[in-house]
Symmetry: C2
Subunit: 388 residues, 2 copies
């Protein structure tokens, strides 16, 4: 059911193109996956996403588990049917949110996190960010939820330790993530037999910014022989150089024959740099979130539509851009919509940013196929102003 | 350039179908016009509006005059070009907002309104609801703004007196509205010659809930021989019976050969009752505003998607409905989106409600053409639960 075939390898880098077959269709890699946290990619309709030619979208297990509850989604026929999206989907495991939402509330020290998120041998107790109600997740429970949701690709339950944790803590969290992966795999195999579902489980490499831990983790995750391998816990504030360094450390230990998914990464330059280093899949809320703040990308970098200079600008956000927004609307009108908090403005800015990343991925694939990836990357980054 | 042809008259009522020709296309009457206050019909894209087959949309002069300013719109090529909408448009004159936004802030007594909105012989001084800055509008200025905006149909500058005003005040406001109409017409003719624009000016009948004033006003407005006549100042809290009564009072004094536009009315039953009484055009924020509150119409009345009973409801908002929302999404998913404040939920609910009214108008036109309007209205209202 799941099959990854590499179509072309770039001779000068680790970049490659491929096709990942899923029950809901093919994914052409390298791919960027828009994030639909609560089963909706913010401001976009499923029709918008089809028009954008998005091949796969994400949804977050943590949010859907809390509301409306995975049993509601299951009763409605699973995610695809419920949200009216018949192309591939991916769900994370909720692990990232369980830990990061506690951090977002200000509990950054391990001791305090442990007070809010209690980890024991079996799983994790945490408080809902919505109402403070206690919940308990185990690797088995996470997989059960993901089976109820029914995405094509499901992620193992992992612990994403805070960026400022000690090496000792990163090591413990990594070991726990490995033990959890074994349990996730077992539960997934059990449920897959019973329910005849066809979902692919991906494991997640952790280990913080420590090369030895990352290598250890990559080897372990790779040894599970799952249909795909992910790298988690990067792009959480460690800086670009360290992130690229960690990817270079990890990649040699992940099977070439499996898709490699870098979680939570999504600026144009990160996509180029990480494809260069052998990554096949990406997701990030960045393009959609920045759109709602009135920011947009062009080939020259990131700009704000609020800038006074766009007040009388009849041009589209990006000349030659084929997105619905650029084909129909001027910067002047978009600026007005954003200033007036008109929802259409949020929708049109999002369409452009998602199109920009999906188009970048299409160009990346084309250039890998033509053997011109390095040149394309060089030229793109020469024009594109650093976007942190 | 502007031409109104009646296609069919209902033998048992004052209902009729017609075609109003404008420079941007034909409008089939009776017509409902979605409201795009700040040059965007809230949550809908222009593509959505085309898919909904909306034949004409509104924009508000008051809001666009304040931001971004009519000169910006003019420099961008006028409303149609600026917002990328090549079908007919209508702008109000700003008169309603000048007076009603002062009321909305709690200044309901005439004395206080007069303190905030100073009327003199020449025009009206008012404070912007955005920043309290003083502005001064005259009939001439309102028409100049509407010419800069460039809608196909433009409304005369009128005074919509508060519903609780005395008859003496309604009479004064009406006389003022008539004097202003003469000035609007003169300014419009001047500008039309100079700029070779093709815009149709409509006058507005006022007079509150007093039959003699309404008749006086209808006769005056009708005597100006403009391409269309509007009825203002109704649906402002006077109750349905009085509203219908006032329409019955006014209609005999408005030329049969001109379209008659009832301003600010837009519930399904009001549309049916007012078409019955000879109205051809309607506008209202009701369908779009109620959608953003999670309310929707079916043939049985108005419902809230927040209702617990829809949590596991796989059905569309309305079975058999041909709108994008009902063709693709269940009540269960829509309820989730509205609860989670997802923008897609607002968009999908709006699509349904606007479709519902536009479809109702299509059915009204079909039934007038077939001579079955009265029967259709009776059957519709028998099912439809009163919607206040």
């Amino acid at each position: 059911m799941f099959d990854f075939k590499i179509s072309k390898k770039d001779p000068k880098s680790l970049a490659r193109t491929g096709i990942f077959k899923t029950p809901h269709g093919d994914i052409h890699t390298p791919v960027f996956m828009p994030v639909g946290t609560k089963a909706s990619v913010k401001t976009l309709s499923q029709k918008d996403l089809k028009d954008l030619d998005a091949e796969i979208i994400l949804a977050n297990t943590y949010h859907l588990y809390l509301r409306p509850g995975e049993k509601v989604v299951k009763k409605m026929g699973g995610l695809h049917k419920w949200i009216s999206w018949n192309k591939p989907m991916l769900t994370d495991s909720g692990g990232y949110q369980v830990f990061s939402l506690a951090q977002e509330k200000g509990y950054t020290e391990n001791t305090v996190i442990k007070a809010e998120v209690k980890i024991d041998k079996n799983g994790v107790e945490f408080k809902s960010h919505l109402d403070g109600k206690k919940h308990y997740l185990t690797p088995e429970k996470a997989i059960q939820i993901e089976h109820d949701l029914g995405a094509d690709i499901i992620m193992a339950f992992d612990e994403c330790a805070p960026a400022d944790s000690s090496k000792k803590y990163f090591s413990e969290a990594m070991d726990r993530t490995h033990r959890w992966l074994t349990r996730c795999k077992k539960e997934h195999e059990k449920l897959s037999k019973k329910q005849k579902k066809s979902q692919a489980l991906f494991g997640i490499v952790q280990g913080g910014i420590f090369k030895d831990l990352r290598i250890n983790s990559a080897k372990f995750v790779n040894s599970q022989d799952l249909p795909g391998n992910a790298i988690g816990g990067l792009s959480v504030g460690e800086g670009k150089k360290i992130m690229y360094d960690m990817i270079e450390t990890v990649i040699p230990h992940l099977s070439e024959k499996k898709p490699r998914y870098l979680m939570g990464v999504g600026t144009p330059e990160d996509l180029l740099e990480c494809v260069d280093r052998g990554i096949d899949m990406f997701d990030c809320v960045h393009p959609t979130r920045m759109a709602r703040h009135g920011a947009f990308w062009t080939d020259k970098g990131r700009f704000s539509i609020r800038n006074e200079k766009f007040k009388l600008d009849k041009n589209p956000l990006l000349k030659g851009c084929k997105c619905e927004t650029c084909q129909n609307y001027s910067k002047s009108y978009l600026r007005h919509l954003i200033f007036e908090n008109e929802i259409l403005g949020l929708n049109l800015m999002t369409i452009h940013n998602v199109h920009f990343l999906l188009e970048l991925m299409r160009q990346i694939r084309t250039n890998i196929t033509k053997g011109t990836f390095k040149k394309f990357k060089h030229n793109f980054l020469k024009r594109f102003k650093h976007d942190d």
